[in-house]
Amino acid sequence: MVDFAQPENAFKPGLPGAAEPACRVVPKYSDQGEREGDWLEISMGPQHPSTHGVFRMDLVLEGETVIRLKPVFGYLHRNHEKIAEQTTYLSSMPYTDRLDYFCSMTNNWAYALAVEKLAGLQVPERAEYIRIITAELTRLQNHACLMGFLMQDLGAMGTPLMYAFREREKILDLFEALSGARMMCNYMRFGGCRIDLPPGWLEQTRRLVADFPRFLDEFEALLTGNEIVMARLQGVGALSRELAINAGISGPMLRASGVNYDIRKVDQYGIYNRFEFRVPLGAHGDCYDRFMLRLLEMRESLRILEPALKDIPSGPIIDARAKLRNFKPRPGEAYGRIEAPKGELGFYLVSDGSANPYRYRVRPPSLINLTILEDLCLGQKVADVVIILGSVDIVLGEVDR
C-alpha cells in the first residue's frame, strides 16, 4: 500500500491502488506520524453516470468530504488541432462542429471569425444577422440543457432535462431546416453563411421566440424557488472573483463570480453593438449563481433575438471575394474569439500563405473552466462534486479535442 503521507508519494493518479476497485482505503497519518484513520480513494469515472462524458476524477475522501481531486481527461482526444494543420481551412470547419457538440453554430462562427480576420473578408449584413440569430438560439438550447443536466445530477429523475430537451428539439428543428443537420450544422463559411434562410424560417423562429418565455417561466417555477434546489446549490463550489480572473475563467462562470466580462460587449464582434441587452452578474460565485445566471442570460438572448428577427435585411449572405476552392489566405496570424455559451471560445491561426494553416490552436472554454475543479471541490461533499462539475458546464468533445 502506498503511504500517501510521504511527500514523494503525494497524490498521483494511476497508482496501482487507484485502479483497483476493491474496498481499499488509504491510511491517514497525523503530523506526529500516528495513524489517525483512513482515507478512501475513489476513481470517479470514466464510466460514471454523471461525468458528462468520458471524464475521470481521482478523489480522496475523508468520510464523504473531498480532500484531493485530480481531473483526468483526454479519453476523447482526437488530435483536432494537428488534423486541422494537415487539411485545408475549409475542411476544418466540420471538425469545429464536434468540439462543443452542443453549440456547433457558435464554434463555426468563432472559426470563421478567425479566418475572416486572416483573409480580410467582409461579412454581409444579412449574414451577420443570421449569425447572431443562430448563435443566440444556440445559447438558448445550451443553457436550457445545461440546467436540465444539472438537475439530473441533483437527482431530479430527468424531469427538467426532458422539458429542456423538448424545447431544444424545436430549436434543433430550425437548425435542421436551415443547415441540413441538427447538431453538426457546418453552416458558417468564411465571409458569410453557406445558404440563405429557407422560406418561412423566420416566421417559425419568431413563433419559437415568442413561445420561449412560457417555457422559461415554467422552468423557473419548477426549480428556482425549490427549497431543495436552493439548499443543494447555494454556497456550494463558490469561486472567488480573484481566482476566476487569475485562472482565466470565462463565460457565465466568470460572471457568476461578479466580473463584468462579456465578449459580446467587450469586443462587439459581429453586430452585437446594435442590440440592447444586459449582462447579469452574480455575487456569490456558487453553483446557484451559475445556474441562475444562465437562466437570466436566456431571457437576455430573447431580447436580442426579437429585434434581430424583425430587422434582418435582405441581400447577399456571403462575401463575393470568398473562395471555396483553392482558399489561401495571406501570411499572418489572427485570433478570433466569441462569447460562446460556455465562455470565451477562441481560434488562433497562423498562415504561411499555403492552403493549410501553419498553426491552428483552439482556446476551449470548457477546458479552461475545468482547470479549477479541484479548488471548487475541496472541502465539499462527494455528492457536491457531481453538481460542481455540472455547473461548470463542460462538453468533453471540447475539453479533450
Partner: protein, 192 residues
C-alpha cells in the same frame, strides 16, 4: 413559508402530467418506426452521385478528385476510368464512399464544380455487414436526377437551370471558337 417552492414545483409537474394528455405542444414524442418526422428540404444524410439518363454513362462526375481531396475525414476513394491506351477518361471507374467514416458535412457537395455529388436524405442505412455493407460503391451511389428533384425540388431546379445555362454558354463558345472541350481543360487546370 418554507415548502412553498416545492409545492409550486409539484404544481408544474402536475400541469405537465395532464398537459401531456391533451396538449400536442407538450407531448412531442413520435413513435419512430411507425411514424416518421417530415424532413425539411435542406436535411442531409450521406452523399450520392447524380446521373442524367443512363445510371452508368449518365453520371455527371468527371472524376476530378476535388471532393476526394477536400473531404475532411478522407472517406472518398476515386479511380478514373482508363481507355485502352491508359489515358484517363473523365469518368470514375471506382467511386467509393465509406459511410462509416463519412460525417455528412456536405463539403464534397460544395466543392464539386459539376453539381455531380449531392446529399441524400435516406438515413436508415444500418446493416449487419459492418465493413462491406457500409462502403457504398458507384452503383449504389448513383441516383437519378428525378430522385434529386423528388427530395430537393427547389435546389434541383436551380441546379438544372444553372447547368443548362452553362451548357448554352459552352455551346455558344464552342460555336464561336470551334474548340472541343473547354470544361475539360478547366478541370485539368485545377488538378495539380
Amino acid at each position: 413559508m418554507p415548502g412553498f417552492g416545492i409545492i409550486k414545483g409539484l404544481k408544474e409537474t402536475a400541469r405537465n402530467f395532464f398537459g401531456s394528455y391533451h396538449d400536442p405542444g407538450r407531448f412531442v414524442t413520435i413513435q419512430y418506426p411507425e411514424e416518421k418526422r417530415e424532413h425539411h428540404e435542406n436535411y442531409r444524410s450521406f452523399p450520392f452521385l447524380v446521373y442524367d439518363g443512363d445510371p452508368v454513362k449518365g453520371l455527371r462526375c468527371v472524376s476530378c478528385k476535388i471532393c476526394e481531396k477536400e473531404c475532411p475525414p478522407q472517406c472518398i476513394y476515386i479511380v478514373p476510368e482508363q481507355d485502352g491506351s491508359g489515358k484517363l477518361l473523365k469518368f470514375p471507374r471506382i467511386f467509393d464512399i465509406d459511410v462509416s467514416v463519412c460525417m455528412g458535412c456536405q463539403i464534397c457537395v460544395e466543392v464539386c464544380p459539376f453539381d455531380s455529388i449531392k446529399m441524400d436524405q435516406e438515413f436508415e442505412v444500418s446493416t449487419a455487414d459492418r465493413f462491406g455493407g457500409l462502403i457504398l460503391n458507384r452503383s449504389k451511389l448513383a441516383k437519378s436526377n428525378e430522385y434529386y428533384h423528388q427530395i430537393r425540388p427547389a435546389e434541383a431546379t436551380a441546379v438544372d437551370a444553372q447547368l443548362a445555362a452553362e451548357r448554352e454558354r459552352q455551346q455558344a463558345k464552342a460555336a464561336a471558337a470551334k474548340s472541343p472541350a473547354p470544361a475539360a481543360a478547366a478541370t485539368r487546370e485545377k488538378k495539380p
